[in-house]
Subunit: 436 residues, 2 copies
Amino acid sequence: MGDDTTHSSQNTDPWRGRYADRAAGMVASEVRALFAVASRPEIVSLAGGMPAVGALPLEEVGDMMAGLVRDRGAEALQYGSAQGDASLRESITEVMAREGIDADPDDVIVTVGSQQALDLVTRIFVDPGDTVLTEAPTYVTALGVFAAYQARIEHVPMDEHGVVPEALDEHLTRLAAAGRRAKLFYTVPTFSNPAGVTLAAERRPRVLEICRRHGVLVLEDNPYGLLHLDAGPTRALRADDPEGVVYLGSFSKTLAPGLRVGWACAPAAVRAKLVLAAESAMLSHSAFAQLAVDRYLRTQPWDEQLKEFREMYRTRRDAMLDALSATMPPGVTWTRPAGGFFVWLTLPEGLDAKAMLPRAVGARVAYVPGTGFYADGSGTANMRLSYCFPPAERIRDGVRRLADVVGTELSLRDTFGRAPASAPDQGPQTPAPDLA
Amino acid sequence: MGDDTTHSSQNTDPWRGRYADRAAGMVASEVRALFAVASRPEIVSLAGGMPAVGALPLEEVGDMMAGLVRDRGAEALQYGSAQGDASLRESITEVMAREGIDADPDDVIVTVGSQQALDLVTRIFVDPGDTVLTEAPTYVTALGVFAAYQARIEHVPMDEHGVVPEALDEHLTRLAAAGRRAKLFYTVPTFSNPAGVTLAAERRPRVLEICRRHGVLVLEDNPYGLLHLDAGPTRALRADDPEGVVYLGSFSKTLAPGLRVGWACAPAAVRAKLVLAAESAMLSHSAFAQLAVDRYLRTQPWDEQLKEFREMYRTRRDAMLDALSATMPPGVTWTRPAGGFFVWLTLPEGLDAKAMLPRAVGARVAYVPGTGFYADGSGTANMRLSYCFPPAERIRDGVRRLADVVGTELSLRDTFGRAPASAPDQGPQTPAPDLA
C-alpha cells in the first residue's frame, strides 16, 4: 500500500467516530515532517536526545549477550515476572544509592524505559479531568502521557535553580481554594529536560514539604542524574521522602536506550498497583533485556563507561556553551547545564523559534522549538539545543549556523518590526521518539 | 523491607483514595499464592502457558546476537521508531502471508508482545462504560485489559467449532435495540486460549459479515496459528476483511517470549493512532529485540524450528489426550485441540474446579480454574490444562494424579450430595504472567 492509499484510507476511516475520547488527545507533532528532513547528513541536528551509544565497547557487549543466551537462555528467552528480575532490581537499588536513595529491591518495578513507568503511574492515578501539575518547561512526552489520560495540565514556573517553591505552594493553595487538588506534581529536578537546570539543594526539602502538606504525590523523573558533568551526583528527592515520591530511573542514557530498561521506585502500595497495571499492559518486560543489563552492571566496567560518557558529554557541552558565547547576537540568553543533555535558549523579543525552524533547517541546523514543552502555548521564544549526539566540531558548526539565522531574524525584526509569525500552538503533542 | 513492613505499608497506604477509578479494576488473582506453591519441582504444572524455549538452539541464537551487536550495535542499542523496525515489519508480512493475509509493512506496528497491542487497541477505542464483546471462555488477560479500561464486558457462547455466529448476531441485535453498540468483538479464533477450539471455516465469513453489519471492529488475537498440529495453517479472519479486523500476532509462541516481540496489523487510520499511543506508552520498542527477531527470521532455519516445535507439542498433546481418555472418570469431558497449547476440561455436575485446586496441588498437580476466563462468574465446572511445557511423561503423571483427585471429589459428591464450595467469583483478574 503506497502513501496515496494510506492517505485516502485515512480520509475515509471506517472507524471514525468510534474511537475513545482519549484518542483525541493523541496528536502527531507538526514539526515531525520537518525532522524527517533534518535527519539528512548535511544538517547538524541539535534536536535529538539520542545518547552516544557508539561509544560502548560493542565487541564486549556482544560477547556478553552471547554468553547470556548460552548460559541462561531458557530463562532469558522465557516469560518473566511482571515486577521484573529480582537480581536486576537489586542492582537498581545500588544504582539509586549513588543519589542517596535507600530502597529495597521490592520497592522497584522494571519498565520499558522510564516512559512506560510514567504511563503506568498516570494510569493508576489520573482520571479524566484530574489536575496534574508540572514545572515548565517540561519533558514533552510526559505532557503527551498526561494529555492521553485526559488530565488537566497546569504549570509551575521554574528559574535557573529549578521549580520555584513559592509558586508551587501558591498554585496548590489556589487549587485547594477552588475545591481542587492535583494528583501529581511532575518534575525532572536534576539536569532537566528541556531546561538544563537543577533544583537547588535548599529548595528540595521545601518542595517535598509543600507537596506533602497539600497531599500531592511527587513524580521525580531522573534519567540524567548520573551524567553530572561538574560536581558529583545530586541527592534525589526520593532519598528524603520514600512515601511521598515515585522515582523514575532509566538505563537509556547511562547504558543504551535500545534495550528499553527503566524503572519506578514507589511506596509499597503504589508499587503493587503498578505491577498489576504492567501485567495488563505487557504481561512482563523482556527477560533477555533485564538479564543483559544486570549482567552488564555486574561484569562490565560500568563506572569506567560512565566516566567516559561524562567526559564526552562535558566536551560537547563546553563546545556548545563556548560557541554560543562566541557567536550569538546580543539579547539571546541560555542556560548552563551542570549535567544531562540540554541547553535551553531564549530568543530576543519578537522572535519566534517555531517560525524560524524552517529557515534554520534551510541553513543546515535543527533544534526543537520551545512550545512543545508547555501545555499552555508558552515557549514561542525558546528552543531546546542538545549536545549529546553530534561531535564537538559539528556542534560548533551547528551553533554558528544557528547564530547566523538568529542574526538574520533580528535584522528582519528591526526592519519590519517583527519576524514572520508561527502557526498557532497545538498544545502537547507526541514528538518523534528521537526527539524525546 | 521485609514482608511485614510491606503489608503494614499497604494497610496504611498514604495514597489510598487518590487512585484513578480504573485502578479499582486491577485486582490480583486470588489463586496467585497457590501457584507460587505450584512452581515446586515435585508438582506437575498443567497451569502455565510457557512455550518450550529450551528447544531453541541456544548456541546459535547467542552467536547471532553477538553478531548483531558487533555489526549493527549503534543502531540496535539506540532508540528506534515507534512503529517498529521496517525490515522486521516486512518479515512480519511474510509470516502473516502463511495465513492468507496480504498486508503492507506499513499496516504493521511492532509491540511488546501482542499483549501491548491488545492494551493499545483498547486504549484508542474504549471509553469507560463502552461495551466489549468476547467469545467465552476467553483469554484471561484480555479480560483484565478490558476491565482496566472500565469496559462493560459481555460474552457470546462458543461450541467446539468456535463462537456461535447466530448468538453473536442476536447479541448485537439486542444491544442495538437497547441503543447500544459494542466497540470491539474480541476473539482467539484459531486454537483458542483457553478452549482449545478453532472457529470453523464456514463460520468465518459469517462472523465477519455480522460484525461488519453491526459496525463492530473485530479484534483477532492469533498467537498460536502457526502451531497447527494436524493440518496446515488456518486462513485468518484478517485475510478476508482488511478494514474490519485488527489482527494481533506474536513471536512469543513460535520463537521466544523473552524478547517480547508481537505486533498489530490494522487499517491505516487505526494503525496511525496505535503508533501515537505506543509513543506515549513507551517511546519505542527495543531496537535490539526487533533486529534480533528479524535477523533470526532471515538467517536461521525458522521453518525447521517450527516443525520441531510442532512435533514436540503434538507428542505432548497426544500424551495429554491419551491420558485423559485412559484415566478420567465417566462424566468428565474435554476439547481436542488441533493446535496451540490448551485443553479445556469440564467436570461433572456438582464439582467445582476452583474449590478442588488446593486438593489437586496437594496431590502434586496444578491447573487453571475456569472462572478466570469469564467475566460473568461462569466456568466453575471448568479448568484449563496446558500441554506446552512439561515433557510427555510428566503430562501423563499429572493427568493421572488429576484423575485421582476428580475421582475422590466424585465420591465425596456422591456421599455428601456436593463437593465443598469455592469462594465467590471475583470477575476478571490479573493472573500471574506465567499463567497467561
